[in-house]
């Protein structure tokens, strides 16, 4: 039990060491130390996950256990969902360090230090049970992420991306802090269990305002529409291993925090109004899924395409999480794990293209990557998995999410989510066929094309692609698909999910030390329905990709009937992403105001 802080302490200590003395070390020494630290963190996160498999555990720092039911110290809650988020982060960081071994020809020690700080902050964030501790780890992760995004700030695109990212997320974090302050003002406590216990059972204006504000910052990180505008800029211009980390685990963190806060703080306080909150979150998620999917099809820059696809899948996850019931939370957790691994694999494979050809523009890459089998395989299988093919953890998650959908609104949202994932799957498959096979009409120049050149990181003669660059994406993809074969994952998720929505049981565990027995969950549904639906979506994605590839051969009258209607809408949608910081912040504030108005209108009866 005393080594529970290890996943946070070890990366932070090694990061301090590397930041302080890194310039006296050889490059390979820094790489080896970083990889070893990340690997040790993987092992300790796996151990923590094993510790929590029978139910949540609580640990108090400094021995400051609660006195008379009032929390005075800082506690961590070790439970399977949080521990798996930490494990996912550690695995992705290990992969990123192995990838960076070969990807960067010259990198300073501060890159490794920043990534280790990022890892330590994520591990702390996913295990903590104290609101302000959560905020501090959130800001630490954010600061490390801003610095990592702008690591190559000598070029204009990463500079702009990092600025947009940093300013937007700082405004979001401010909203979260304000919400936490309001909760403290009302309850006098910062420990999640204590806050929930004192909060009462009727939502008044302050409670609703606190809910909206706290979720605003986390939804900004999770890229819900209209808080998503920073994501395509930031993920497209960050160095490739960093983009993989961002899309793989950082956006999921935002949704994980929303789950923690709504489920364990506000769930009982909202009482009957919970259904209305569901409606708002599910609508937001569906909109995000659709917009992300549509915009990803219109991108020619591969990493920006993948970034929009992340937005879309986060929309699907938000719609699932917004259901606020145990089965859909369990499904969302598995979906997030699968999506994180597959998206990271895709980003790593895209980095190979940059490494080899110095460009990530689909037009310039047309047909040039015919000989690259490994990355091509990753793109093909990854595209199919994103579309919903029953080959990955995503499908496991979807089977649970489908089972949970009851109301007509959630079914409609589910349908929209499927459309979004079909669109993103089609986009990735289109990239596969254009770049790795060289078939089909070359992608057309669209208005408002994001024109920026990404410089390659390595110089010198390019012979065979280094092994780490090929192996890491394949390993990530195998993990994302292979973990689906592990027996009992769904059962375990469904067993532990109800604890995420039960503030009373959580409070009695944390403050009184009384453990409520977990009820035996119903057996998970059979996979056949989800597999059929997934197969259908895969076929739809393949058909859509084929449609874009034979675009030149479609009879003109069909094109002329669709294009004048669809094109202006799509162009306006793209123009929304203007690249100007002021616009993004204005949309963020307007979004929070709209969310707040909707919440006050429906939650205060």
């Amino acid at each position: 039990m005393s080594s529970i802080p290890l996943p946070v302490a070890l990366p932070l200590l090694v990061a301090a060491l590397l930041a302080g003395t890194g310039k006296y070390w050889a490059r390979r020494a820094i790489d080896v130390v970083a990889i070893t630290t990340a690997f040790v963190t993987v092992v300790s996160c796996a151990w923590i996950l094993a510790l929590s498999r029978h139910g949540p555990l609580v640990t108090w720092f400094g021995g400051w256990t609660p006195r008379a039911g009032v929390a005075i110290g800082i506690s961590w809650l070790i439970e399977p969902f949080g521990a798996s988020v930490a494990l996912l982060a550690a695995v992705l960081v290990t992969g990123a360090f192995v990838y960076a071994w070969a990807f960067f020809s010259s990198v300073h020690g501060h890159f490794h230090a920043l990534v280790l700080v990022f890892l330590g902050a994520i591990c702390g964030f996913s295990l903590t049970d104290d609101l302000f501790n959560l905020f501090v780890f959130f800001e630490l992760m954010g600061a490390a992420a801003f610095a990592l995004c702008g690591v190559k700030a000598e070029e204009p695109a990463p500079l702009q991306g990092a600025l947009n990212f940093a300013v937007t997320n700082t405004v979001g974090a401010f909203f979260t802090l304000t919400g936490i302050i309001l909760l403290y003002a009302r309850t006098g406590a910062l420990n999640i269990a204590n806050v929930a216990r004192v909060l009462g059972h009727r939502p008044d204006g302050l409670v609703v305002a606190a809910l909206v504000l706290v979720c605003a910052g986390f939804l900004t990180k999770a890229a819900a529409v209209p808080f998503h505008l920073w994501l395509p800029d930031a993920h497209a211009v960050a160095p490739t291993p960093v983009s993989a980390l961002f899309s793989g685990v950082m956006v999921e963190i935002g949704l994980w925090a929303v789950v923690r806060v709504i489920g364990l703080v506000f769930h009982d306080a909202l009482g009957d109004s919970l259904g209305a909150l569901r409606g708002i979150l599910v609508a937001m998620g569906a909109l995000t899924a659709l917009i992300g999917g549509a915009l990803s099809l219109m991108q020619l820059q591969v990493k920006r395409l993948l970034a929009y696809s992340t937005v879309s899948h986060m929309g699907v996850l938000l719609a699932a999480v917004g259901g606020l019931d145990a089965t859909s939370l369990a499904g969302a957790g598995l979906y997030a794990l699968g999506h994180g691994l597959i998206k990271a694999a895709l980003f790593f494979a895209a980095g190979v293209l940059l490494h080899r050809f110095g460009t990530l523009n689909e037009r310039e890459l047309h047909g040039r990557a015919r000989g690259l089998v490994g990355p091509g395989l990753v793109f093909a299988v990854g595209g199919l998995a994103l579309a919903g093919a029953p080959i990955s953890l995503q499908t496991l998650g979807e089977s649970l999410i489908h089972q949970a959908e009851q109301s007509s609104m959630r079914n409609a949202a589910g349908l929209v989510g499927w459309i979004g994932s079909v669109l993103t799957g089609a986009a990735v498959l289109r990239v596969f066929v254009h770049v790795f096979v060289g078939a089909g009409t070359p992608a057309r120049e669209l208005p408002l094309e994001a024109r920026f050149e990404e410089k390659r990181e390595t110089k010198g003669p390019y012979g065979r692609i280094p092994l780490p660059l090929v192996a890491v994406p394949i390993v990530m993809l195998l993990l994302g698909c292979g973990l689906a074969l592990v027996p009992g994952l769904r059962a375990m998720a469904v067993l532990h999910a109800p604890a995420l929505l039960n503030p009373a049981a959580h409070a009695s565990l944390v403050l009184d030390g009384v453990r409520t027995a977990l009820p035996t969950p119903p057996p998970p549904p059979s996979m056949s329905h989800a597999m059929l639906v997934g197969l259908g979506r895969t076929l739809a994605a393949i058909a859509l990709a084929a449609l874009t590839l034979v675009r030149g051969r479609i009879p003109k009258r069909f094109r002329d009937s669709v294009t004048p209607v669809a094109f202006p809408v799509l162009v306006r949608l793209r123009a929304w992403q203007s690249g100007h910081i002021g616009d993004y912040v204005a949309w963020l504030v307007a979004g929070v105001a709209a969310f707040g108005a909707a919440a006050i209108a429906v939650l205060m009866r």
């Binding site: 600025l163 920026f452 100007h580 910081i581 912040v585």
Partner: protein, 118 residues
């Protein structure tokens, strides 16, 4: 009158936030933008100070005052310090990016950074 005076810090916090956000949204200079971001974050300090105040409370130091004497809430002061440190880190990072922007293009206008659109 005392009812109104009780609400002034909260109104001031909202006002400072609005001023900061207006500055960030309409800024034409990156350094100005970053400072406006700092102004916006000061709204949370005001809010914290308002939340922590106790009528007739002194500073939370039990040296002269006996235990049991009303004091203002020390936790919000700790939160405020943490908040300031976090803001200082982010502002330093953003200013470094602003310096880079100036070095690259000679201009600090956010409108000049138009590489990423669509």
């Amino acid at each position: 009158m005392s009812g109104f005076a009780d609400h002034v810090p909260y109104v001031a916090a909202v006002w400072v936030f609005l001023v900061g956000i207006y500055g960030v949204v309409t800024s034409r200079n990156l350094v100005h933008l970053v400072v406006c971001l700092g102004v916006m974050q000061s709204a949370s300090y005001l809010l914290l100070a308002a939340v922590g105040y106790r009528r007739h409370g002194t500073a939370p130091v039990f040296f002269d005052a006996p235990p049991g004497h009303p004091v203002v809430d020390p936790i919000v002061q700790a939160l405020m310090l943490t908040d300031v440190v976090v803001e200082a880190t982010v502002v330093a990072l953003l200013l470094a990016l602003a310096v880079q922007a100036h070095k690259r293009s000679g201009s600090l206008d956010p409108d000049q950074l138009r590489v990423l659109t669509g």
